[in-house]
């Protein structure tokens, strides 16, 4: 591996990338791989989005209109798998690939060959997953949580589901290893751990979470596989196993997984808010400790997904209070972001608007999460649309908005050109309005008792469902603007970006030219800490 780094550099030192498809298939350059991750993520975002629109079209009015219930269930399952593993996670890995070396003054990722593998496994995994739609019995329809015994009733798609989860896990693990090694070993000489930018910090923590829980998910789905084909009874009651145990193992992965999807978002927002407030991040170190505490706590709260499976009172109390405890470090973060803006010279470019919307709307999702943590309330809300509203608030105006903020924020550095600010703002306002039109009514639906994962519902839920469906279609169409903005920027349609891009932003990534050259920081930067704010 070490030889590879040297070779690639020797080879390309004075040239750009190799021409043609080889550049991408054999890519080892962190910028190329980051770009591929981001493109894959954008494609998957639209694929998963079309599935969401199929779901919302069916739910526009009561009764069965467009799809049969089996296909509806396939859509909810595939929508979740694709959005979680195809859109959100690769987007953040792509951002890490592009930005972590630039932010720590490293010439590339530490393990470029492995980086290539961890990307190229993904298209294979998603091709395999998508192929299940055309198999006898259809795609997996058990929900992305894959609870047995239901998931064992999946048709021919079952082993393909398991293997694609394995591949996604392997890809994430390799990506995580690469990010950790890069951050630990390749920082600029004078960049101590606590001087690292927040995006780098949150990714370091995220990478450890990935390493700790993706293998557990792989283990859980392997047990499903052996239960189905090799006669084990891990989760089969008849053979002495216990289906509830799957839920324990799954959520031991599943809860840290939600922080895998939000911690890098915290990092992005922690970069953007200081830039557009023209102040350093308030409480940098406390942000690090808060993110670490969230990561630690994420391992001891999993059973809050299982309050209705039957649990002794002490267990319910423990998981309830541990869950609520997470609100403390999260509150520290929200407080620090707000304090960063306090008396700042704020301006509201598109990345800042997305970051601010993140701040408000993610917090709403956090609050509904607290409500769900309350055991007696959860027994009421469980498996209702309230849960759907909750996790979409933390994932869409949470993670997805942070990704969009990051793309608008760093895209001028990537392409050397600004996006069209007016179009960016239009995209922002349409997204923000429609995301609320889509998901806010779902709170009311859930409180009124509408269950999730159903293609038909009783008529009293009709109005709010129509509103949510209209919002979803509006949100979906608004994202075409996002694609348009990105494409225009990549085609260099906007005005030329300066090296600093924004008004005196902090961080090493702004010291390299725009667009960032194919090779950067081949000699480590002399001073890693820029303090232009005063």
């Amino acid at each position: 591996m070490s030889a590879t780094v040297a070779d690639t550099h020797a080879e390309h030192e004075h040239h750009g990338p190799v021409a043609g498809w080889r550049r991408w298939l054999y890519a080892t350059n962190h910028k190329d791989i980051g770009t591929m991750y981001l493109i894959l993520s954008l494609i998957m975002f639209f694929v998963g989005g079309v599935m969401a629109l199929i779901i919302r079209t069916e739910l526009f009015s009561p009764g069965l209109q467009f799809v049969n219930p089996a296909f509806f269930n396939q859509m909810t399952t595939m929508h979740a798998l694709i959005m979680v593993f195809g859109a959100v996670m690769p987007a953040f890995v792509g951002l890490a690939n592009w930005m972590v070396p630039l932010m720590i003054g490293a010439p590339d990722m530490a393990l470029p060959r492995m980086n290539n593998w961890s990307f190229w496994i993904l298209p294979v995994a998603f091709a395999m997953l998508a192929s299940t739609l055309f198999m006898p019995g259809g795609a997996p329809a058990s929900g992305w949580t894959m609870y047995p015994p239901l998931v064992l009733q999946t048709g021919d798609a079952f082993p393909f589901l398991i293997f694609s989860v394995h591949l996604l896990g392997i890809s994430s693990i390799m990506g995580a290893i690469n990010i950790i090694v890069t951050i630990v070993n390749m920082r600029a000489p004078d960049m101590s751990l606590l001087k690292m930018p927040m995006f780098v910090w949150t990714w370091l923590i995220t990478a450890y979470l990935l390493l700790a829980v993706m293998p557990v998910l792989a283990g859980a789905v392997t047990m499903l596989l052996t239960d189905q084909f090799f006669g084990t009874s891990f989760f089969l009651a008849a053979g002495g196993g216990d289906p509830v145990m799957f839920q324990h193992i799954f959520w031991f992965f599943g809860h840290p997984e939600v922080y895998i999807m939000i911690l890098p978002a915290f990092g992005v927002v922690s970069e953007i808010i200081p830039t557009f407030s023209r102040k350093p991040l308030f409480g940098h170190d406390s942000m690090v400790y808060a993110a670490s505490s969230i990561a630690f706590l994420s391992f001891i709260v999993w059973a809050h997904h299982m309050f209705t499976t039957g649990m002794p009172l002490t267990g319910q109390l423990f998981f309830m209070f541990a869950t609520m405890l997470i609100a403390v470090p999260t509150g520290v973060k929200v407080f620090n972001w707000t304090a960063t803006m306090w008396r700042g010279a704020m301006s509201f470019e598109t990345p800042m608007l997305f970051a601010l919307a993140f701040l408000f709307l993610f917090t709403i999702g956090g609050f509904s999460g607290l409500m769900l943590a309350i055991v007696p309330a959860d027994i009421q809300y469980h498996d209702s649309y309230f849960v759907v509203a909750h996790f979409h608030y933390v994932l869409v105006p949470g993670s997805v908005f942070a990704v969009m903020a990051a793309v608008y924020y760093w895209m001028p550095k990537w392409t050397g050109h600004y996006y069209d600010e007016r179009m960016g703002k239009l995209h922002f306002w349409l997204s923000t309005i429609f995301v609320n039109v889509t998901f806010f009514p779902m709170h009311f639906l859930g409180l009124a008792g509408m269950p999730r994962r159903i293609p038909d519902y009783s008529t009293q839920f009709a109005d709010f469902n129509s509103i949510a469906s209209i919002g979803a279609i509006g949100f979906g169409l608004s994202q075409l603007l996002f694609a348009y903005n990105v494409i225009q920027c990549v085609r260099k349609k906007g005005s030329t970006a300066t090296d600093a891009v924004w008004d005196q932003p902090q961080g090493l990534e702004w010291t390299v030219p725009s667009p960032a050259p194919y090779h950067t920081f081949e000699t480590p930067p002399t001073s890693s800490v820029k303090t232009t704010f005063s």
Partner: protein, 195 residues
């Protein structure tokens, strides 16, 4: 530049190696959760699982003035071609006393079938106080075509049962063991099989 990077690449390799080890260890940990889970349930009595082998009879005093309402629930797994019910829907028992309940099952097919009944007790905390001395669930049961069987369970509800519990539900689910391939009994925790 290459000189300064050389030692770092060795560091990278060894760090990457340690991280791979961590990932492999966590994969193992996922499987370790299985025995941990079983041990946890066994020690705490959570999960509603009752004893899988006959409990020894201990002479305890029968608490004549305490009455526990015992309800029976029978379920047939969707793949199992059986008729299965209890002789009585519920009975009243005194802690410490020994009782017998009869369950009746009939093979609805014209083939020989092997059934496994899996018991569960609610509330879960009562499971470890529900001591079966004899149960048709300890072993799998063979049914001739169309055969009907009366199957007893003899049990004691021990007097350590927490005071606040006045109703216990005993549930049996009837499975067709053909659904579980034969080696399951050998492969995955033999202790499980006859629970």
């Amino acid at each position: 530049m290459r000189d300064t990077k050389q030692p770092k690449n060795d560091d990278s390799k060894s760090l990457a190696g340690r991280l791979v080890f961590l990932a492999v260890a966590m994969f193992g940990f996922g499987f370790l959760l299985v025995p941990i889970y079983d041990a946890f349930c066994e020690i705490t009595g959570l999960g509603g699982k009752t004893n899988s082998i006959a409990a020894t009879e201990v002479a305890t005093e029968v608490e004549q003035d305490r009455e526990i309402n015992l309800e029976f629930v029978t379920t047939v797994n969707q793949y199992a071609p059986w008729e299965f019910h209890s002789q009585v829907k519920e009975m009243t028992v005194h802690p410490g006393g020994m009782y017998e309940a009869i369950f009746i099952a009939r093979n609805l097919t014209d083939e020989v079938k092997i059934a496994q009944a899996v018991p569960s007790v609610a509330p879960q905390i009562a499971a470890k106080h529900f001591r079966k001395l004899e149960c048709f669930c300890f072993t799998s049961q063979e049914f001739a075509p169309g055969e009907e069987k009366e199957m007893p369970v003899r049990f004691i509800v021990d007097s350590d049962l927490p005071d606040y519990i006045d109703t216990i539900t005993l549930s049996y689910t009837f499975f067709d063991t053909a659904r579980i391939t034969d080696n399951s009994a050998v492969e995955h925790g033999t202790s499980h099989v006859t629970r």
